[in-house]
Subunit: 147 residues, 2 copies
Amino acid sequence: MPSDSRLSRVLHLLIHLDRHAGAATSELLAGMLSTNPVVVRRMMAGLREAGLVVSERGHGGGWMLARSLAEITLLDVHQALGAPSPFAIGIARDDPRCLVEQAVNTRLSDTLREAEALLLERFGAISLGDLAADFDCRMAQHRSHLL
Amino acid sequence: MPSDSRLSRVLHLLIHLDRHAGAATSELLAGMLSTNPVVVRRMMAGLREAGLVVSERGHGGGWMLARSLAEITLLDVHQALGAPSPFAIGIARDDPRCLVEQAVNTRLSDTLREAEALLLERFGAISLGDLAADFDCRMAQHRSHLL
DNA sequence: AGACACGTAACAAAATATGTTTCATGATCC
DNA sequence: GGATCATGAAACATATTTTGTTACGTGTCT
């Protein structure tokens, strides 16, 4: 069960973007994720199309937020990434002939859908501003710990 | 995002087991899933250890339910399969040094945990007897449709 | 013109679920 | 007791998918 880490990685980048003066290059962002600039561009492409960020080419170019963090929810980001199914659990095959399998599929799919609805509702209720606030809190604690 | 179909496949088998007189061989069950007997044994091994089914070797051997369907919940089966994370979404890395990443990870993990709790609660509330009832209903409709 | 940075496609590598083969162990039938 | 049947388990092969990488094109700024 390989898990899709794009959401967490993109969220990480967006908050850094907020604190960054001017445009941040894919190469810089890739360094934060310990990965390749092309991977960053791939992940950010959906966010650009969704209007969450803008990219500029050429000298001094890079990535910038198109809105404030407070105006972006986890749901926005999730959908910008293509709203992939959040579940690792799935049915064996669609449209089986076996009526037993049909009954299992239906009930399982319904239950997963319900859980997904809750998850997306929660995603919609959390803004990146909230995450940034979490970070600020950690930073404050980190500093006081150094005294 | 490949999804783990073991849960749906095993549920399918268990209901068939209930309707089957005597022990059902791995080969017979594999036919129902269009797969290999070894795959069936692998999936069923956890259920045997959890006491949901029993297996007998030799002539006339095979798989049988250890309890009635009404006494087995989806949660039981899920746990017997090793209780794998139901999510395809995950964090990029554990224990990151970056405080931003820490904040993102924490909030995301918490939210996923909450959705997982709901899902498992629902799983606990659904018995295989319920699924069998769903099947019987479909079967009745199927028959009336043939008239 | 030249350097910079994104956009895109094609390719490579790594991880993992699934499928397959093989042999060992135990149970039943004759 | 030997033959047959079926699970148990390990080793190996395959297929799919995610992630990483390379290469080249396009646009922008100095």
